[in-house]
Amino acid sequence: MRRKNWIIHLILIPYAILFAFPLFWMFVTAFKQYSEVFSLTPKWFPAHWTLENFKEVVKIVPFGHYYLNTVMLVFGLLIVQFVTVTLAAYAFARMEFKFKNILFVIFLSQLMIAPQTLIAPNYLTIKSLGLLDTKTAIALPYVASAIGVFLMRQAFAAIPKELEEAAAIDYCGPIRFLIHVAIPLVKPSYLAFALISITYHWNEFFWPLIITDTVRSRTLTVGLALFAQSSESAAEWTLLMAATLLVIMPLVIIFLIFQRSFIKSFMQSGLKG
């Protein structure tokens, strides 16, 4: 058995190297001096580790603004989704009403129609609401979250009926039951949903690109793309990699800390968004 595992490692290591390489290469380049990029034989590590690229890039790109916008967007949306998702998921899991099943299927159809598909008509809606170039506009299409309702419905449905009955005897109304009993019981599912939502919205690019116009509302990914297309960054790969590192760093750190829950939550969800 042990001998066989050696063969597995032998097979997996080259793949692991190929997968890890882009992250490694970005990381070392961000700390290199400009001239090192153009050397004809690639240098695996910088000759002198330097922070110059970061200093330079922060001067050119308003990363402070972009960070603030992204954090406000991601967490603001998460709070709103927490409310909408909890209410809908709880109703679908534990209440009886007409057309319940068909409404649930209609809800899940959102999973098939990704927002990218509807950029043109949604742009018109946002425009007529007078919300162009706002963070609210970036968030609005995601306030209703099919994946969130799907995940949380499963979690709520698993709560035993007896618990609810016992609570009713103690004069604990449905709303108090939801807040004091049900929500605390499904915390792990909330964590799973939060990780998926945060990742998705931190990373989202195209919809914010279309809908935003100024530093006031732009997110990190949009800022990165604009910097990449500006003249300051032409062939300035060290600056660009430093900017890229700044954009992905918080996520990579969260990912490494919550690695297990991350992988588990994506496993559960089986779907993105």
């Binding site: 597995i8 490692h9 097979i11 997996l12 793949y15 692991a16 997968f19 890890a20 882009p22 992250l23 290469w25 970005m26 990029v37 153009f38 690639p42 909408t84 209410l87 809908a88 109703a91 679908f92 209440m95 009403f97 319940k100 809800f107 159809s109 098939m112 129609i113 990704a114 598909t117 509807l118 950029i119 043109a120 008509p121 949604n122 018109l124 809606t125 609005l140 299409p141 306030v143 209703a144 990373n203 690019f205 195209f206 690109l209 990190l220 990914t221 793309a225 660009l240 900017a243 890229t244 954009v247 992905i248 996520l251 990579v252 690695q259 991350f262 992988i263 994506f266 089986g270 993105k272």
Partner: protein, 298 residues
């Protein structure tokens, strides 16, 4: 009806209302609006929609670029879906055992899924640069010529495909791993006692039991490959010469470059229909081959 009963009847509707309101506003309303606008002319010349019947659809089907976009997208979808599926399944099979540093492997294969496609595009552009780029350096070592990855008609599509596989394989691997964990050890042990080879065990046990997972991954990766946009916008801009122009990018060009929302809406509708038809086809032709454990009669 008592006040209490009435409240109980209304409560669920109050609970689902906020979600349905936004679902309607930003998913169903725009989908139906696209259908409506697709029969209208709405562009810079006529900012108010004017009914023109099927003209936008006729325009699409008679424009060579539309067919190029469709062909590109089908090719991209076909290659990425199959390659990603195969790689993900292979990695999952390798990792589905007691293995030293297994979680390190999982992290390594999964992390590309967590970082933004915008950032991934930057990194890969840098890896792909012709001349001093690292990929070409090692390719030249093994005798390849200098490849213009994102700027040549021949390789730009392959550059996008490589990035897509790298980005998504780890995610599907995780889903396959979840599926593999459902398979009971007893089955393998029984097969081993009967002297079955690993190859036979894979095709007779793993593959059929895993088929619902495979089916699921097939559908979502198919849908995802028609949503590709970030990497196209950032790496190739649909070029060179539309060699990597795909659906969402084409819609973006029509709607936001030429401000032709009528034609853009027709394209949106065509894409939605294509996704629907594709999904239905997968259900009709592949779903019957899927093996559900609940099918087994006791």
């Amino acid at each position: 009806m008592s006040f209490h009963r009435l409240r109980q009847k209304i409560r669920p509707w109050v609970y689902i209302f906020p979600s349905f309101f936004f679902l309607f506003m930003f998913t169903f309303y725009p989908a139906f609006k696209s259908i409506y606008l697709s029969f209208c002319s709405m562009n810079i010349a006529s900012p108010r929609p004017i009914f023109i019947g099927l003209d936008n659809y006729i325009h699409a089907f008679t424009t060579p670029l539309f067919w190029t976009v469709l062909k590109n997208n089908l090719f991209y979808a076909g290659v990425t879906v199959l390659a990603t599926l195969a790689l993900a399944l292979f990695l999952a099979l390798m990792l589905d055992r007691e293995l030293y540093v297994a979680s390190l492997y999982k992290t390594t294969f999964f992390y590309p899924n967590v970082i933004p496609m915008a950032a991934a595009s930057m990194i890969w552009l840098y890896i792909f640069i012709p001349g001093y780029g690292i990929l070409n350096y090692y390719f030249s070592k093994i005798g390849f010529p200098n490849i213009e990855w994102v700027t040549s008609r021949r390789y730009a599509m392959w550059a996008l495909i490589i990035v897509a596989i790298w980005k998504n394989a780890g995610y599907y691997m995780i889903i396959f791993l979840a599926g593999l964990q459902q398979i009971s050890e007893d089955l393998y042990e029984a097969a081993t006692l009967d002297g079955a080879s690993s190859w036979r065990k894979f095709w007779k046990i793993t593959w059929p039991i895993l088929s619902p997972t495979t089916f699921f991954v097939l559908i979502i990766s198919f849908i995802n490959s028609f949503q590709a946009i970030d990497q196209i916008y950032l790496m190739t801009r649909g070029g060179p010469g539309n060699a990597t122009n795909m659906f969402i990018y084409y819609i973006y060009q029509v709607a936001f470059r030429f401000w032709d929302f009528g034609y853009g809406s027709a394209l949106t509708v065509i894409l939605l229909v294509l996704l629907l038809v594709g999904t239905v086809l997968v259900f009709v032709f592949i779903e019957p081959k899927v093996f559900y454990q609940s099918d087994i009669k006791p």
